[in-house]
């Protein structure tokens, strides 16, 4: 069974651990992966591609050593393999210019400002993954309990009417 990947890119270990714990409700149905910088994130993407696990969501910090989060998201946008992947910035330090670039060039789907609240993060991830699942998955039923149930049910109803 292939699992949808949630990739979290964050350089600070403490923050990363906190995000991962907040994302724990999505396990084990989703494959939750973490990377400490963009190079590492690319390695994760390669591994997921090898396992044939589709990447549903990238949750990315902006200010990291090496490549910046926004540039990584733009890079992802240019790769057709990750076109459907939902892209979310989780940061406290992306300036206006970077954010504009993220919206225009990476089609950023959401911006969460640090410090985040667990419910907010969960809600955003849930909504974004719902969008992802709606746009890519044929069988929506496995996701009803964990993602936005009513929306998925509406979509199922629309597909099964006649």
């Amino acid at each position: 069974m292939n699992r949808i990947v949630i990739l979290c890119v964050e350089d600070e270990a403490e923050v990363r651990e906190a995000i991962l714990r907040d994302l724990a409700p999505f396990k084990p149905q989703m494959r939750v992966e973490a990377a400490e910088d963009v190079d590492d994130a690319r390695a994760v993407l390669r591994e997921c591609a090898q396992d044939d696990d589709p990447v549903g969501l990238v949750l990315c910090d902006h200010l990291m050593p090496g490549v910046r989060g926004v540039d990584f998201l733009i890079e992802l946008m240019k790769d057709p393999a990750y076109e459907a992947t939902r892209k979310v910035l989780l940061t406290g330090q992306a300036g206006l210019e970077d954010t504009i670039r993220a919206v225009n060039e990476a089609r950023l789907h959401h911006y969460i400002a640090k410090p985040w609240r667990a419910e907010e993060l969960l809600q955003v991830v849930r909504n974004q993954l719902t969008e992802y699942v709606l746009s890519t998955q044929e069988d929506l039923m496995p996701f009803i309990a964990q993602l936005d149930g009513p929306r998925l049910l509406e979509a199922i109803a629309a597909g099964k009417r006649g």
Binding site: E17, P28, E33, A34, A43, V44, E47, L63, P65
Partner: protein, 496 residues
């Protein structure tokens, strides 16, 4: 008297002669008309008064003036001539000026009609009258030219004054901006000091609380059935450096291979176990089924990890608070003995979020404490480092070198690997008026460099800049004690 003289020949005669001859001839023609004597200050006629004749000024002086915007503007005083009401001749008998006697005067009045008739009949009179008239007009004309020149001169000096004024105004504005900036920095400094102080207590309390929780948890663990494992797990997580994400994935792969269970491997590595033996050892000491055990281990691990994170983040905040306090508190200490390296370190720490992609090289020499205003010097370091980071776009190499110079002076060099400052800007960089973009130096704090320059000058030091692409060095030289501070601030010298 001598009618045979020609009209043109009279032009060579002096004014007095011509004028007295004209009066003689007028006396002769009109039979010595009566003279009027008027005291000084009396008005002979007003502007626009209808005149029915001309006045011949026999004695004394008058001025011709007009009243413009409530003020008397004198047009002629020396250049009046003997004939008054000249312009009335051409202006339908209305006077053009006001005429006032400056001294007691004696005038003789001749009506226009009489004059007209006499001039027709007596050619001698005509000649002398016209001569006087022409000379009078010429004098007045000359005066007009002089007036024009005078106005031009006045205009010029007015313009110069205006330029000077606006220059001063601009300087004043910039000086005010400097003041505001310094004031703002000072206020910010006070605020920062206040906040830092307020933060100190909670941060300390957080750290202590985390310690207490850990102690209590360890104590409680003793009472649990699998307390030993709990204790070990807690301490393990608490002490150990967490795996990097790369390591985690690598361990996960290896462990999955050994255990043959990917999900289990993922969960084990997540709780810091990457050897099957460790897991078996732990589970042997635990009661309950596999899943329960794992759940419990995960909880223990999370507890340890959370405590570690609280402590570690608390320490980071505490460090920042310390830097902020010493940075900001420095403002209040007036010219004590300060350690330059501390100031530099504090400043660097406060820049840490911009230094992620910057390699910072410190070459600190052996420096004595120097007598300086710590807060002001911190501001200099802040400005210079911010400039360097701006120029490098927060990526590259930042070197800070301190050396002791002869003559009881020290040097602090801040060197960045940015693109450098164009040579044409280099000599203006500390100049208050130097701006390249909307009032800001292209890659600087605008006022920052000029503030720094002033601060250093006040300390009796000097700042120099050398720039080439890839290496820009700002060198600050400061005296160790105030007594040594005699060398004035030098204007930057450019180098390439």
């Amino acid at each position: 008297m001598t009618g045979e003289r020609t009209f043109l020949a009279r032009f060579n005669e002096p004014d007095d002669a011509v004028e007295s001859r004209m009066i003689e001839e007028l006396d002769a023609v009109f039979g010595h008309p009566p003279r009027q004597k008027l005291p000084a200050g009396s008005i002979l006629f007003h502007q626009n008064d209808p005149l029915d004749g001309i006045l011949i000024l026999m004695e004394g002086t008058v001025t011709l003036y007009q009243v413009i915007e409530g003020k008397e503007v004198v047009f002629h005083s020396q250049t009046v001539g003997k004939i008054l009401g000249l312009l009335a001749l051409t202006r339908h008998s209305r006077s053009f000026f006001n005429c006032r006697a400056v001294t007691p005067v004696t005038v003789m009045k001749i009506g226009f009609d009489e004059l007209d008739r006499a001039l027709q009949e007596h050619s001698n009179l005509l000649v002398s009258f016209i001569t006087v008239l022409v000379r009078s007009m010429a004098r007045r004309n000359k005066r007009l030219v002089e007036l024009q020149t005078e106005i031009l001169g006045l205009n010029r000096s007015l313009g110069q004054e205006r330029d000077a004024l606006s220059r001063t105004l601009k300087e004043l504005q910039q000086a005010q901006a400097l003041l505001v900036e310094s004031e703002k920095m000072a206020t910010l400094g006070q605020l920062a000091a206040g906040v830092a102080h307020e933060l100190n207590n909670p941060v300390a309390a957080i750290g202590r609380a985390a310690d207490f929780v850990r102690e209590d948890l360890l104590a409680l663990a003793g009472e649990l059935p699998d307390g030993e494992v709990f204790r070990e797990m807690l301490e393990r997580t608490f002490r150990a450096t967490p795996f990097s994400t790369r390591e985690q994935r690598e361990f996960r792969r290896l462990l999955a291979g050994e255990l043959g269970d990917e999900a289990l491997a993922e969960r084990l590595v997540a709780i810091g176990i990457h050897q099957p033996a460790t897991y078996h050892l732990l589970t042997e000491n635990l009661s309950g089924t596999g899943e329960e055990t794992l759940r419990r281990l995960e909880r223990y691990h999370q507890l340890g990890g959370a405590l570690r994170n609280i402590l570690r983040c608390g320490e980071r905040i505490a460090e920042l608070v310390k830097s902020l306090r010493s940075y900001a508190r420095a403002d209040s200490t007036e010219g004590g003995e300060i350690n330059v390296h501390e100031g530099l370190e504090d400043t660097l720490r406060l820049f840490s979020n911009r230094l992620r992609d910057v390699t910072v090289e410190r070459h600190f020499g052996d420096l004595p404490p120097i007598q300086a205003h710590a807060g002001e010097l911190n501001q200099v370091w802040t400005n210079l480092i911010a400039n360097a980071l701006d120029a490098m776009k927060n990526q590259g190499r930042l070197a800070i070198t301190t050396t002791r110079l002869p003559e009881d002076r020290i040097a602090v060099r801040i060197i960045d690997s940015g693109p450098g400052i164009p040579p044409e800007h280099l000599d203006k960089i500390f100049n208050l008026r130097f701006t390249t973009r909307q009032g800001r130096v292209e890659f600087g704090l605008g006022l920052g460099l000029s503030i720094s320059h002033n601060i250093i000058a006040r300390h009796g030091g000097a700042i120099e800049v050398q720039s080439q692409p890839g290496r820009t060095e700002f060198c600050v030289k400061l005296p160790i004690s105030r007594e040594a501070a005699i060398i004035p601030a030098t204007i930057p010298e450019s180098a390439s």
